[in-house]
Amino acid sequence: MNMSITVNGEAVELKELTSLDQFMRQHAQDGPTAVAVNGQFVPKSQYRETNIQAGDAIEIVAPMQGG
């Protein structure tokens, strides 16, 4: 069963129910990242128990220069 979500504003199709932990292993790059799902921060300690739902909007952020 395919599931449509958005990741950093881009449409993504998932083929099966996935935990945030599994999803991040596939999509997050090396180094520090952090995640918000539907505008809510999800700490790393909750990745395993968070299942991605159809229509979820996931934001993955990484360090960047800032002023």
Partner: protein, 261 residues
Amino acid sequence: MWQLADKTLNSRLLIGSALYPSPQLMLDAIRASGAEVVTVSVRRQDPQQKGGQDFWSLLSTLNLQVLPNTAGCHSVKEAVTTAQMTREIFGTHWIKLEVIGDEYNLQPDPFGLVEAARELVAQGFEVFPYCTDDLVVCEKLVEAGCRIIMPWGAPIGTGRGLMNPYALKTLRERLPEITLVVDAGLGAPSHAAQAMELGYDAVLLNTAIANANHPLTMAQGFMHGVQAGRLAYEAGLMAQRDIASPSTPVVGTPFWHQEGL
């Protein structure tokens, strides 16, 4: 030495990490500035930039205190969520809180700022709010739990210096126990010196150094400007006068004669 939140620092210059012509020039300029606190941010991970990891690896070699920001946030919810994400990424509870109310001049939204500050203080953050120089807004931020207030000198990136020295001076007089940092709008070391002469605890800037023809040299200029201004404040500026007063003793002036005798 001075105290910024839970850190004891030597430098009163806080510096940004953006807009430098190259990563190496960023490192060199930050080192030359003597700054011990550097601002950083978070953005959507980008495969082209390896998620900003190269930048972070490089900056980490300086071993400085980082001050993450919520730049680009326009709502309380965005700012709070961004702050939570920066805390996990950078491992610090410090947050430079930006809630932008107007896109044209990047003017902070004072209402959203106070609300977000209150929420983040409750969550254990040390909140450094980027705000206007309005006294009442700053007082509300203090009531919300901020121990540090960062009024603008001028809008971000304009380099116009202190637009309203009167308002900044009033803030210093009315909030004597609060750490005050002029953030944004400084274009020249003399602007930094002026802020420090008013009794501000520090200044925060980025563009004036990063966009200089020689960022490293400008970083040194700002370092000296901040030091000069602070020394002047500690020494106490002389009172201004309307009428000239000779500095060289008058008694014994050669060729002196009294007119009209």
